[in-house]
């Protein structure tokens, strides 16, 4: 660890904000410098790698919008295209950006369900949210790939705060850990892309995560499709709302660090049946039971309580 400068590391939003203040820079800049210090790689190559990730994200959105066929399970496919077409129609509700943001979130998850190539952000089940938000900023705010790469470092910077104290896996923390984290990361990325302060970015993340608390991971048949596909579209919009609130100067009473602790606590208390086991919730409704999980050994499996 010869080149690491430990003073750039942080395990909380409070410490992250101190670093931003001390260095007079953004969350993205601290996350980038931290990565450079810890890996010994230069910032330009790290930004280039993040830009490559953004390229994969854009391709995933484009690929998903082109899907017309159903997934192997039959549970998803074609809705991203429907939303995209609606957004291009004469009078889409709340303007074209709303339906388009949702369409982008749907698109990545529809592609994911069809064994497409995506970037886990932070997980595959939540991989549509950050790309949907950045693609919408491309449409509406002329965000270019360089600024998108920096916004992804904002998202990573917030993700690191969450990941230090709580899990990202739905199997451990429920959907709040996946979609909640992605939404918090996206909200902060939007804020910094819009020129907001690090404090506003953390408030946006706190709002986004706080309002996903308790969300369980109960997808039908264990497939990453229902409700995951629609949830990625809807929570991309949620991220924009959280960012809007922070940019308007609304402060989140519970700071991000406390929201993360709450998320971890709720995840620990959440029953296993509601943590990616297909053992409860939507998965065990009459509809859900028509799509039983497929165990690897091929034995017939009731969606069992675990």
């Amino acid at each position: 660890m010869s080149t690491a400068s430990p003073d750039l590391d942080y395990d909380s939003a409070a410490r992250l904000l101190e670093l931003c203040s001390a260095h007079g820079c953004s969350v993205a800049e601290i996350a980038l410098r931290r990565e450079a210090a810890q890996t010994g790689k230069d910032e330009a190559s790290l930004l280039a790698r993040m830009k490559d990730h953004y390229t994969v994200m854009r391709e995933a959105v484009r690929g998903g919008l082109a899907i017309r066929a159903a997934s192997p399970s039959g549970l998803s496919g074609g809705d991203a295209a429907r939303l995209h077409a609606y957004a291009a129609g004469a009078s889409p509700l709340l303007g074209p950006a709303l339906a388009r943001t949702a369409a982008y979130g749907f698109a990545v998850l529809e592609l994911n369900a069809q064994f497409g190539r995506i970037v886990a952000t932070p997980t595959a089940g939540s991989a549509g949210i950050v790309p949907a938000c950045l693609m919408t900023l491309e449409d509406t705010r002329a965000l270019d790939a360089d600024r998108a790469a920096r916004a992804l470092f904002t998202a990573a910077g917030i993700g690191l705060v969450i990941g230090r104290r709580a899990p990202f896996a739905g199997a451990q923390g429920g959907c709040q850990a996946e979609v909640g984290s992605a939404s918090a990361m996206a909200a902060a990325a939007i804020v910094e892309a819009e020129g907001g302060t690090p404090a506003q970015a953390c408030d946006a993340a706190a709002f986004a995560l706080m309002n996903t608390l308790g969300m369980v991971c109960d997808p039908i048949g264990g497939y990453v499709e229902v409700p995951c596909v629609s949830r990625n579209g809807m929570f991309a919009v949620h991220s924009f709302l959280a960012a809007t609130m922070a940019l308007a100067g609304t402060r989140c009473v519970v700071p991000l660090d406390d929201v993360v602790i709450a998320m971890r606590d709720i995840g620990r208390r959440m029953p296993r049946a509601l943590k990616e086991t297909a053992g409860g919730g939507l998965a065990t409704t009459p509809t859900g039971l028509r799509y039983p999980p497929q165990p690897v050994t091929g034995k017939p499996s009731a969606a069992k309580q675990q």
Binding site: F115, V119, G159, P167, K275, Q294, V296
Partner: protein
């Protein structure tokens, strides 16, 4: 645990699940690299959510895709079972309850190849594609595969680590972490060394000829 920005934004992967697909592919790839050869037989023992929802998440295909040497974003992943059959890799999948303390996404791989000693590896997929190998041939490890790594099977003899680290010092390879575990005093041991950067080939050659070294694998960081 210390996360990288690219643990949070990444990996680039074939869907549908970072834990059940990309993590599984990374476990398979790391196991294959530990074996040091293409396996001829593989027994895959699945626990918890890996067992219960594995086929829908392509966990089976992802593990096998890794065993075939593919990265988690290789489009060959969905067809890995067919590829294995064509390549003569015999597969056996079973379920096992590994107990309440086992991570829900856990797997044990028992591998063999004609020209390599057998290998048994226990691993979990922790979420977001991050994995941990808990156990190699019965030795406790905490290997995540993100750094260049040397894995040494060796006799538990005094001076082993002194010689090994001296060679690394000579070629100026910095050690990030080092862990030795053993089956018992003076019996066999396994040492896992993570380094900042790869160990040059001539140093590897020297290390592999150390008298008490039974087997040495040099692993690149996982994609």
């Amino acid at each position: 645990m210390k996360l990288s920005a690219f643990d949070v934004i990444g990996p680039v992967m074939i869907g549908p699940s970072s834990s059940h697909t990309a993590g599984a592919a990374r476990i398979g790839l790391l196991a294959r690299r530990l074996l040091g050869a293409r396996p001829a037989r593989a027994r895959l023992v699945l626990h918890g959510s890996f067992a219960a929802t594995g086929r829908g998440h392509a966990t089976d295909r992802a593990l096998v895709s890794g065993l075939l040497g593919h990265a988690p974003d290789d489009p060959a992943l969905p067809a890995a079972l067919d590829e294995a059959a064509a390549a003569g890799l015999a597969l056996e999948f079973t379920e096992e309850d590994m107990g309440p303390d086992a991570h829900p996404n856990s797997v044990r791989l028992e591998l063999s190849a004609p020209d390599a000693p057998g290998l048994r590896v226990s691993a979990s997929s922790l979420g977001g594609g991050v994995i941990e190998i808990h156990d190699i041939d019965g030795y406790a490890t905490g290997l995540r595969g993100d750094l260049d790594t040397l894995v040494c099977w060796h006799a538990d003899k005094s001076g082993f680590l002194a010689r090994l680290t001296a060679v690394l010092a000579c070629v100026e390879v910095n050690i990030a972490t080092l862990r030795t575990s053993r089956h018992g005093r003076g019996i066999d041991a396994l040492t896992v060394i993570e380094t900042d950067g790869p160990v040059p080939a001539d140093a590897l050659d020297l290390l592999s000829r150390m008298p008490v070294m039974t087997r040495l694998r040099s692993l690149q960081p996982l994609p």
